[in-house]
């Protein structure tokens, strides 16, 4: 368990530095089973920070989300650092962003938070109902203890925790400047059982499934916007000149969008699963991404977001790369 006081003290130290502009972390939400990401600008605000199983969002997404505003004439650009609290899965995003040179390592200060799992709000709501009060959740052994509407409730962790946590191999941050708690044991290995199960269907079954799923899509682009790896200044789907994907929400364009995004993430997706969590119409987006993740692992023995010294898989060329079809 993470000691919140220790976390806040470390955050305070960082925010008090002259060379730190902001700190991204989690605060208590206004209702329900999830926290709210928070961007602190001043050390006096650190008491807002929390860390518990409600901290499901990926703060690494906010590093690249910040707009680069033009510097007014006569002013110098603000080159101070951004500090960010990250769980194990979140830290993989930072690793991959560094691998792709999205920003300099010196530009961020990473406060690593070893994580023992986050709650899936839908599972919690099914079990205990919706609530307009924020829920506090703590761990006791292999149980979660929740305070819902003033009442104490309990449930086995395995029933409430997010699916991604049940196969989490990286609970400890893979890049950090400091850890705010002791490292923890990993949950399990990932055998991609879910991918195998889905891939085992016939093409007709799979197409029927995706036709139904993609028909639901309202093209809100939340999946893209929350993704820490989707940080292109101009995304291919919003380009007008030329226009690659029409804005009409029909099965053709919706399918094109999702498949495009899955391909653009091949070898880059670090499986924080945020895209699937945020989708308002429950499209199982990660089924596509995990298939490609598994393929990348098998074909190239490559795993994104693990080694800061690695090279981006599909953005690099090695003369020894096998190619049997051009020459």
């Amino acid at each position: 368990m993470v000691d919140e006081k220790n976390l806040r003290d470390k955050a305070k130290e960082v925010l008090e530095r002259d060379d730190v502009r902001r700190l991204i972390g989690w605060a208590r939400g206004t209702y329900g089973y999830e926290s709210a990401p928070v961007v602190l600008k001043d050390a006096s605000e650190v008491d807002k920070l929390i860390f518990d199983p409600t901290c499901v969002q990926n703060p690494a997404s906010f590093i690249t989300l910040e707009e680069k505003k033009p510097v007014p004439r006569g002013q110098e650009p603000d080159t101070r650092k951004v500090a960010v609290l990250v769980k194990g899965c979140d830290s993989r995003a930072i690793v991959q962003q560094l691998v792709e040179k999205a920003y300099d390592r010196e530009g961020v200060i990473v406060l690593g938070v070893p994580c023992t799992g986050v709650v899936d709000r839908r599972k919690a709501a099914k079990m205990f109902g919706d609530t307009s009060e924020p829920v506090e959740i703590s761990e006791e052994g292999d149980k979660y203890v929740l305070t819902v509407n003033g009442e104490k409730k309990e449930a086995p962790k395995a029933e409430l925790v997010a699916d991604k946590c049940l196969r989490c191999r990286y609970p400890n941050p893979l890049v950090y400047d400091m850890l705010v708690a002791d490292e923890v044991e990993k949950w399990a290995d990932d055998e991609f059982a879910d991918v195998d199960e889905f891939a085992g269907q016939t093409p007709e079954e799979k197409w029927k499934f995706w036709e139904e799923q993609f028909s639901k899509c309202i093209r809100c682009y939340s999946c893209r916007n929350v993704c820490p790896m989707c940080y292109c200044v101009e995304c291919v789907v919003t380009k007008q000149k030329p226009q690659w994907t029409r804005r009409a929400t029909d099965i053709s364009e919706n399918t094109a969008y999702h498949i495009q995004r899955a391909w653009h993430l091949a070898g880059r997706c670090i499986e924080c699963m945020e895209c699937q969590r945020v989708c308002p119409v429950d499209i199982p987006i990660m089924t596509l991404n995990r298939k490609l993740t598994r393929d990348v692992k098998e074909m190239f023995e490559y795993e994104p977001g693990v080694d800061v010294e690695a090279e981006p898989l599909l953005a690099c060329y090695n003369p020894q790369d096998p190619e049997e079809y051009i020459m």
């Binding site: 206004t30 804005r247 119409v281 429950d282």
Partner: protein, 344 residues
């Protein structure tokens, strides 16, 4: 108007009797509920809180053709919906019906929009009162309520084994007759009243919005906008799922020699929304866009149409992935100190 009822286990028959209407009711695909045309009346269930995507998509579809054309020809073929093709929305919640009355004002403003209006004309709204408000509902604060009649042609109440139907307009009466409903008794009406009172007591979240529309423009330069815009993802969820959001894009699409001009949902949250061809963007960051969104709903819209463009359905709060909470923001608005207004 009239008071009717039907037994809950006869719902399939009652819906099936509506031969002259296309009936739309909530249907689940997994955990996601949306209003869909009813294929099998036996599958309609009113056991639901509210749909993810609001029924605004039934009046104002995600994508619709405005007109068609062909390269080389100067004829244009509009595709305006047929107002005589009757539809009945079965089980719409009072908040979503109230939302229609708000959006009506915009679509009727100066240049009436025939696409929206013809669909409205053709549609009968059979509402369904809420007995279990959801966690983030605050409709009574916005002029609605769990049994609000505004905008509805009829309002249904689940009072045990029976559904009590209160018809509110001629359109509602006509549909009730077509459904073959029997007359309701005192017991049903009393139960409906009691249900409404209980439901109102269950609503936890409230908002006193007096003064907010007038105050918002003076907070243009306030730092409060940064507090929540810093975590905004600029995704479209709050706007696409909001029953009073109505913004759209218009695009021409060609397939060979045939083409159409279509409109589709758009959102002020996207940075491309206001992007000029020159590259200038008056709302380049999330701060400007989130400020504009709240100001539009709670100040600019009421300035023009005398009603706040919000019905308290709570979807924006429920579905925002980063817990940007509208009521939280509006509390900030109320507390914020107004500094001297900046002049140009």
């Amino acid at each position: 108007m009239g008071d009717f009822k039907f037994a809950k286990d006869k719902m399939a028959e009652v819906i099936g009797a509506l031969k002259d209407y296309q009936v739309l009711a909530p249907k689940a695909v997994g955990d996601v509920l949306r209003f869909q045309p009813v294929e099998d009346p036996a599958q309609v269930s009113l056991d639901y809180p509210n749909t993810n995507v609001p029924p605004k998509e039934l009046m104002f579809p995600e994508t619709e053709t405005l007109f068609k054309y062909r390269v080389g020809q100067t004829d244009i073929e509009p595709e305006v919906p047929d107002a005589s093709a009757r539809r009945l929305i079965f089980g719409i919640r009072p908040c979503d019906a109230l939302a229609y009355t708000i959006v009506d004002k915009l679509y009727a403003w100066d240049f009436p929009d025939p696409y929206y209006q013809k669909r409205r004309e053709a549609t009968v709204l059979f509402g369904f009162a809420c007995s279990e408000p959801a966690a983030n509902c605050f409709c009574p604060s916005m002029g609605g309520g769990p049994a609000s009649e505004k905008g509805l042609d009829a309002l249904m109440f689940d009072v045990g084994d029976t559904i009590y139907v209160k018809t509110l307009t001629d359109k509602g009466e006509e549909a009730a007759k077509a459904m073959g409903l029997e007359a309701a008794g005192e017991a049903q009406m009393k139960a409906a009243d009691a249900q409404e009172k209980e439901a109102l007591a269950k609503i936890k979240r409230t908002l006193d919005h007096s003064g907010i529309p007038e105050k918002l423009p003076s907070l243009y330069d306030h730092t409060m906008w940064e507090r929540f815009s810093d975590r905004c993802l600029s995704c479209g969820i709050c706007t696409f799922l909001c029953p009073t959001c109505h913004c759209f894009d218009i695009q021409d699409e060609m397939e060979g020699f045939d083409g159409r001009r279509a409109r589709m949902w758009d959102t002020c949250m996207f940075s491309e929304y206001t992007l000029h061809t020159s590259g200038h963007n008056p709302r380049p960051t999330r701060k400007e866009r989130t400020r504009n969104r709240i100001s539009h709903k709670y100040s600019y819209f009421p300035e023009k149409f005398d009603v706040i463009a919000c019905v308290g359905c709570g979807r924006c709060i429920n579905y925002c992935p980063v817990n940007i909470d509208l009521l939280d923001i509006l509390e900030d608005v109320k507390k914020a100190e107004v500094k001297e207004a900046k002049t140009a």
